[in-house]
């Protein structure tokens, strides 16, 4: 949910509850105040009439309306009492609320009952109007809050959104993250500072790691060279078949280490951008050359190669392109079956390499990961496809891997 929507939701909840509580409170307060006011008026009237009746007993007969009844009674029945009552008004054609004061007074040895009524209809109208006005004010307030939020998120929060957009496209190993949000708000400036610090740290860690991998691989080359040389020397001096066989095993193992190391070195060099520059390459010639190198393996498996050797020029980094096709094609041969097939199609926008395979199809997402291999027992370090995908990334090609008509198919899209 967006920040703006969320803020508006809270604003709505706040205004709605203020509206509800406020309207009820307003209503009852007004009711109370009005009824108190009306009661006071009635009491004043009672006093005035008591006085008037004291002056002129005949006054009683002249005064009797819907709002006032004075009658002579034999005794005092009850103390003064206020009462709410409804009286039907023929004019309004409805019951109208009244407050009624009933009081007994003894004036000049006579007992009088005074009944005063005061209509509440006007007061109720006022209450309704006031509550209505209150609701309108609240609604205006709500609209105001929404507009303010919209304005704030557009202006006040702008630096935040700028930073967010920059973060979205930030990639590891990119240049250091720097979004000049141009904000004068302390929190945003702190956030930006923190992000810059973080990205600088990530950047340097990432570079250190890349350099470390490369240096470590380099450092391993010389010890490996020593081991290999010593094995070669020992092979000349050993005469016990048992020792020779063990030397053979050691050598195999060292070769596996060396192969893994070499692949890691290639990967780190690609990641460290050590292949720069572009040149026009005839891809057909390149593929033919690689197939030629692989010809013994192709021949031994009696593979059928379908490849229309037509000039196909592209502008890319030559060494990277060679490593890429070397990997992809040797994979296609390596994992092929006896009397299998390799189909290479060069089309204007993509290159498809299909091959029959003895391997099970591995999930493409997994296949391009380092050390991913379908067969855990295979001595190959499983870096071939990782290298291929890394190169494809550098050469700005898309590398897809799927099953087409029962063949494993690698598609390179420009």
């Amino acid at each position: 949910m967006k920040l703006l929507t969320k803020t508006n939701q809270y604003a709505f909840l706040m205004v709605a509850s203020v509206l509800l509580v406020g309207a009820v409170f307003l209503h009852f307060t007004l009711q109370y105040v009005i009824s108190k006011e009306v009661s006071e008026i009635l009491e004043t009237e009672l006093e005035e009439f008591t006085h008037a009746v004291g002056q002129d007993p005949e006054f009683v007969r002249t005064q009797s309306t819907a709002e006032l009844e004075i009658s002579i009674v034999s005794k005092i029945h009850s103390p003064d009492a206020f009462r709410d009552t409804l009286i039907y008004s023929a004019y309004e054609e409805e019951f109208i609320p009244y407050i009624q004061l009933t009081a007994y007074r003894k004036i000049n040895d006579q007992y009088f009952r005074f009944t005063f009524r005061e209509s509440l209809i006007e007061s109720n109208d006022i209450v309704a109007v006031l509550v209505g006005v209150f609701i309108v004010i609240c609604l205006l307030l709500f609209i105001g809050i929404i507009m303010l939020n919209k304005y704030l998120s557009g202006h006040l929060w702008k630096p935040f959104y700028i930073m967010l957009d920059k973060l979205k496209v930030y990639e590891m190993g990119d240049q250091i993250y720097a979004a000049n949000s141009g904000s004068d708000i302390e929190e945003f400036n702190t956030l930006q500072g923190a992000l810059e610090g973080l990205s600088r740290k990530i950047h340097s860690d990432y570079n250190n790691l890349k350099e470390f991998t490369e240096n470590a691989s380099h450092e391993l080359q010389t010890p490996l060279a020593i081991i290999k040389s010593e094995i070669d020397l020992l092979l000349q001096d050993s005469h016990l078949p048992d020792h020779l066989q063990r030397l053979g095993i050691i050598e195999e193992t060292v070769n596996r280490v060396a192969a893994t190391n070499k692949a890691l070195l290639t990967l780190s060099k690609i990641e460290n951008d050590q292949f720069r520059g572009k040149s026009t390459i005839d891809l057909s010639a390149l593929i033919t050359d690689i197939l030629e190198q692989l010809s013994d393996f192709i021949g031994a498996k009696e593979l059928t190669i379908q490849f229309a050797n037509e000039p196909y020029e592209i502008l890319k980094n030559a060494p990277l392109l060679r490593i890429l096709f070397q990997n992809v094609l040797s994979n296609a041969v390596k994992h092929n079956v006896q009397q299998g097939v390799i189909i290479i199609r060069l089309e204007p926008n993509n290159i498809v390499i299909k091959n029959s395979s003895s391997e099970v199809f591995i999930d493409p997402d997994l296949a391009f990961q380092r050390f991913a291999k379908a067969n855990p027992a295979s001595p190959s370090p499983g870096l071939g496809l990782a290298i291929a995908s890394k190169i494809a990334e550098k050469l700005e090609l898309r590398l897809d891997y799927q099953i087409q008509e029962g063949l494993h198919a690698l598609t390179l899209t420009f």
Partner: protein, 225 residues
């Protein structure tokens, strides 16, 4: 034949020296930039094996000075840096070959012998082993004066064997020599096996001797009778 080994790692320097000495080369050693610089300017060598990362300076500088002195000997760079830039600038500066660590001593030995042959005999040399004659540049092979036809791989194998005669050569050294980057192909040893079988068959058809012997579990050896 005199060879200068410029390598800072003692074990490797000695292993190379050891191996090459037994091939009949006279080896001298240099473990750092200064010693190497001195020896390379004072003496003549048929071949200099040059490490690039040396204590005291960059091996490429030595190469540059060596070539400016117009020395005749060949230079093979042996480097842990498999970087293309180093390779290109090394070869541009006049290095004759570039070998990336880790390598097999057999490979180094074969490269040296090819280089020396190239430099000294302008390729007209015939390599002889018993009754086998190899003309490396025209890729011709004859046995007991009968010319025989070998495939490219078979020829490379024979030359590699002759360059490392009487030595035990492991299958991996052979695979690396023949297939280079593809030597890690799962079944490359099977191919080596069948290629050697074919080569042996062709040699045995014309020669009374069986020169190539399998060394159980490890590899092969080309030996005289």
């Amino acid at each position: 034949m005199k060879i200068l080994i410029v390598e800072d790692e003692r074990s490797l320097r000695e292993a190379i020296g050891n191996f090459l000495s037994s091939e009949g080369y006279r080896c001298e050693m240099a473990e750092n930039f200064e010693i190497a610089s001195e020896k390379m300017s004072l003496y003549e060598y048929d071949c200099v094996l040059l490490d690039i990362t040396l204590p005291g300076g960059n091996g490429l500088k030595l190469l540059d000075a060596y070539k400016k002195d117009e020395k005749k000997g060949g230079v093979i760079i042996i480097s842990a840096r498999d970087s293309l830039d180093d390779k290109v600038s090394g070869l541009e500066l006049g290095a004759d070959d570039y070998l990336t660590k880790p390598f097999h001593l057999h490979e180094l030995s074969a490269r040296i012998s090819s280089l020396i042959r190239r430099l000294n005999f302008q390729g007209n040399r015939v390599i002889k082993f018993e009754d086998i004659e190899i003309k490396p540049d025209s890729r011709e092979v004859s046995i007991a004066e009968t010319s025989i036809h070998l495939t490219r791989t078979e020829f490379e194998l024979l030359l590699f064997f002759v360059q490392n005669q009487s030595r035990v050569i492991s299958k991996s050294a052979i695979a690396e020599h023949i297939y280079g980057d593809n030597s890690d192909m799962a079944d490359s040893y099977d191919f080596i096996y069948s290629q050697i079988k074919n080569l042996r068959k062709k040699l045995n058809e014309h020669s009374s001797n069986d020169y190539i012997h399998a060394v159980y579990g490890v590899g092969y050896r080309l030996s005289r009778k």
